[in-house]
């Protein structure tokens, strides 16, 4: 690192190409943001990240301002905090008051609510028209489109374009009439949307929500997160499994997942309900006189072993081919390949995941 700037009175070294915001964040400065997602090109929309820059007439948005050698930056002066408070009060005023945003709506869904607490913006100032127009009529079963909560930060539009490459959603109209839309203001299922859910997870207000997870909003208990890997395919996306007590209530992508950096596909994101589905088998079944009937584990293992041995004896070990299910736990997938490779000495092992 060759260049340095002064940040709140202390010298900090930085690399060419870093923004003031990036430097401030790694220097543990708590600079607030709403339109920022570090995977996306900074847009400079919310203006909460403004800082004082010596020599500049006005505060600058730190997220879009590249650091240059010798800059003198102050991240939190009285004047800056006053602007941030006013901005927060303004943005809170554009949504209907008093709506509880369940954390199951999405990973970033509490950002605005937390900011409102930080700046004591309770919605009592700047009353006036609200800007969002909900599309709760969208019949898709996965994504809630509650634009009454929308603050036009455009994170959803940018994540869809820059991360997912789908360009399914965009910005309609301008000014206070701005809305998030699809082509011709239609439903998601008629658009280019792949239901990857990334827009849901980056939304800082819960305007976009995970409908599958929200079915569990009323389940009592605290949400607990368990880090895991999505079993559906070979990419290996990191996920956080959300649970309340022993009930699975949702899945969220892991921002620090090396393979996915916060991305998932429709399966990893939304297809987990089967885990706790009533139709799942609860005992092994064996076929007797052409009918599947419940059996004990011992009986089932006996029957399976008998079948495998018979095939191996008759056709040789390479006649055995196993396909593990993408819906089975990782441990099972591991056991199956061990069983086939070590047990039978064949390489005919595969997995159904082909995402």
């Amino acid at each position: 690192m060759s260049a340095k700037l002064t940040l709140d009175g202390r010298e900090v070294l930085f690399e060419e190409g870093e923004t003031i915001y990036e430097i401030a964040r790694r220097s543990k400065k708590d600079v607030p943001t709403l339109c920022y997602d570090d995977r996306l090109d900074p847009l400079g929309a919310c203006r909460l990240c403004v800082v004082e820059l010596e020599g500049a007439r006005n505060p600058v948005a730190s997220c879009t301002t590249m650091a240059t050698d010798g800059m003198v930056v102050r991240t939190s002066t009285e004047a800056i905090e006053k602007h941030r408070k006013t901005l927060t009060e303004l943005v809170v005023s554009e949504n209907p008051r008093g709506v509880e945003i369940d954390p199951l709506r999405g990973m970033a869904s509490q950002e605005l609510a937390l900011l409102a607490v930080r700046y004591e913006a309770d919605g009592s100032r700047f009353e006036g028209a609200t800007s969002g127009r909900s599309r709760k009529d969208d019949p898709n079963p996965m994504i809630l489109r509650d634009y009454d909560q929308c603050i036009s930060c455009y994170r959803c539009v940018r994540v869809c374009a820059e991360q997912e490459g789908d360009y399914a959603i965009s910005v309609e109209n301008r000014g206070f009439q701005t809305r998030i839309t699809t082509e011709f203001a239609g439903f998601l299922e008629d658009s280019a949307c792949t239901f990857c859910g990334q827009c849901v997870q980056t939304c800082p207000t819960g305007a976009l929500g995970d409908l599958r997870a929200l079915q569990n909003a009323d389940v009592p208990g605290e949400i607990e997160k368990t880090r895991s890997i999505c079993p559906y395919c070979g990419v290996g996306c990191s996920v956080d499994i959300l649970s309340k007590d022993d009930k699975l209530v949702g899945v969220q992508p892991a921002m620090d997942g090396p393979a996915n950096e916060g991305a998932l596909c429709v399966k990893g994101q939304f297809a987990w309900e089967w885990v706790q589905h009533d139709d799942r088998l609860k005992t092994p079944l064996v076929r007797k006189d052409g009918e599947l009937v419940p059996a004990s584990w011992d009986e089932a293992f006996e029957r399976a072993a008998e079948g495998f041995r018979g095939v191996e004896a008759k056709h040789g070990r390479h006649a055995i081919y196993a396909v593990a299910s993408g819906r089975a736990p990782h441990e099972s997938a591991y056991s199956v390949q061990k069983f086939v490779r070590a047990g039978f000495g064949t390489n005919y092992i595969d997995n159904c995941s082909r995402a």
Binding site: H83, F126, G175
Partner: protein, 552 residues
């Protein structure tokens, strides 16, 4: 009737094709249908959702059948005084459009590409824009020096009055550096609003790596109360073209765009004819005047969005992107059109250049009052006897312009306030100022693009302020929070639609919103808009009190 394919073939390989292609469909079908957008999306490889969103950004693109033919009636601040609301009600299916740049005339009405003017109860007439009157102070002019000469808009007439002499000399005898030196020395600064020194801008483009370089003539003239660029283009189009060619020669640019506001369709025809004439005569195009210097100019018509006059929003619009302003730095001089070095200049700035090169930097400097260099065209409108465009020496006392040149207010009236920079400079009540940036900035305003609207003592300043703020709210692009929400909240408060009832709380809210908008908005629109409310609070406390007592 041309097929979809015909239209696509006509435009898809042209530079900056999106706007002209959309206009072609808009003209053919009288609106932009879903099918048309599908064809354009596929043909230009723009995602359909993006295209749809972008089309809805522009005020004049209609998405309902027959929409293009519906009359658009100007309801800008001055036309409101002339009865725009009545005219709107009189005309079948009419909708309002923001100031259409003809405030010194009756009310503009646009029907398809016919630009007419009229007042309630009268016939609409397609008449040319008023010619500036001979300078009432008999001051020497730069831009208007020859504009009144017969036939100046034609190539022959332009050359008869010295036109293209500067360009010929530049390309045949001078280096680009020579041209830059003259422009630098003249003190010419941007006439589009920001007042950036033109020589410095051009030098930055000349020095920036990357090719091809581009000259953009900003002819969006969206600021309410500004109608000077139109007059220059209508009556002196070759001066604008020559200015662009000189800019290109000085910077090394090879292509140019004129970004023209939607509301000036006949101006487009004038410009296109002038470009054809000049190209024919070897003054534009490949190998200008037999030298190795080439420069092509394309006219691109906007579609109704004030923000597209902001240079980076303009560039996004040209490129077919959603017209939000870009974050700066980098500036257009290094990362402009298609991310390559670009000089964006106002029409008036460019039209001054041929004269400056022809007559010299010292001559131009000497046109200003005292220390000030050069001239500025002021579009004067509202409650004065002789509204119109006046080219004033920079530094002229405002009162000289208002009372001596323009005849003062109507008999029996006095001037209550004027606006500056169209609406962007807010209100000025104390008329004892001079028309130059140092003086006006010292009073919390600025000269900007030079639109001055006059309001006499019969006018309701709260209502004028409400209209002004609702213009900014209508035109806010919606990118940044302070402006998107702030313009809305200020409009509501001025209209008495929402907001606190307690007068002190009301003032505190209005002031806090304005203060934050001015400090942290992402572009000049949001930074300037609160000058309306700030000057209202400062200069018209009684009107504010009355508003709070009665209306709320």
């Amino acid at each position: 009737m041309p097929t979809d394919q015909d239209l696509l073939e006509r435009w898809k390989d042209e530079p900056a094709p999106l706007l002209p292609l959309l206009h072609a469909f808009h003209e053919r079908d009288s609106y932009l249908s879903d099918d048309a957008l599908r064809v354009v999306s596929k043909g230009l490889r723009i995602p359909l959702a993006d295209l749809y969103g972008t089309v809805t950004f522009y005020h004049h693109f209609s998405r309902v059948e027959g929409g293009r033919g519906r009359p658009r009636v100007c309801d800008g601040p001055i036309c409101k005084l002339k009865g725009a609301d009545t005219l709107l009600a009189e005309l079948d299916g009419a909708t309002a459009m923001p100031c259409a740049g003809r405030c010194d005339d009756p009310i503009p009405v646009l029907v398809e590409d016919r630009y007419m003017v009229g007042t309630p109860g009268s016939e609409l007439a397609e008449t040319p824009a008023p010619m500036p009157t001979p300078n009432p102070g008999e001051r020497e002019e730069c831009c208007f020096a020859h504009i009144r000469a017969e036939g100046r808009a034609t190539l022959a007439g332009y050359r008869d009055t010295g036109g293209y002499r500067a360009l010929a000399r530049a390309v045949q005898e001078q280096t680009p550096g020579d041209v830059l030196d003259v422009v630098d020395a003249s003190g010419l600064a941007g006439r589009g609003g920001a007042g950036f020194p033109t020589g410095r801008k051009w030098r930055a483009v000349a020095d920036a790596p990357g090719e091809p370089k581009t000259i953009v003539c900003n002819a969006d003239e969206g600021e309410p109360g500004c109608f000077k660029d139109r007059v220059l283009m209508d009556y002196d189009p070759h001066a604008v073209l020559e200015g662009m060619a000189l800019a290109a020669y000085a910077t090394g640019a090879t292509r140019g765009f004129i970004y023209l506001r939607y509301e000036y369709p006949h101006t487009q025809a004038i410009l296109e004819r002038a470009i054809a004439e000049a190209t024919e005569a070897g003054l534009l195009g490949q190998g200008i005047l037999g030298t190795g210097f080439s420069f092509l100019i394309y006219v691109r018509r906007g579609a109704g969005a004030y923000i597209c006059g902001e240079e980076t929003s303009l560039l996004n619009s040209l490129e077919g992107k959603h017209p939000f302003p870009r974050n700066r730095p980098p500036y257009p001089v290094t990362h402009g059109y298609e991310d390559l070095p670009t000089a964006v200049n106002n029409v008036e700035t460019l039209a001054s250049v041929p004269q400056i090169l022809d007559r010299g930097a010292d001559w131009y400097r000497s046109l200003g009052e005292g220390e000030h260099a050069g001239t500025k065209i002021i579009s004067l409108s509202g409650d004065v006897l002789r509204p119109g465009n006046y080219e004033v020496p920079i530094g002229l006392p405002l009162e000289t312009l208002l009372f001596e040149w323009a005849g003062g207010p109507p008999p029996g009236r006095s001037i209550q306030a004027v606006t500056m920079a169209g609406l962007s400079g807010g209100f000025v009540r104390d008329l004892d100022v001079t028309l130059d940036e140092p003086c006006l900035r010292g009073r919390g305003s600025f000269l900007g693009a030079g639109g001055i609207m006059v309001f006499d003592d019969s006018r309701d300043m709260i209502e004028v302020a409400r209209q002004a703020m609702s213009f900014f709210a209508h035109e806010s692009c919606g990118k940044c929070f302070p402006c998107r929400i702030g313009t809305q909240r200020l409009t509501e408060r001025l209209a008495g639609e929402a907001g606190p009832r307690n007068a002190d709380v009301w003032r505190a809210e209005v002031h806090d919103i304005g203060h934050t908008m001015a400090a942290v908005s992402a572009c000049g629109l949001g930074i300037a808009a609160p000058l309306i409310t700030e000057s209202l609070l400062r200069d018209f406390p009684d009107a504010v009190n009355a508003h709070l007592e009665n209306g709320r």
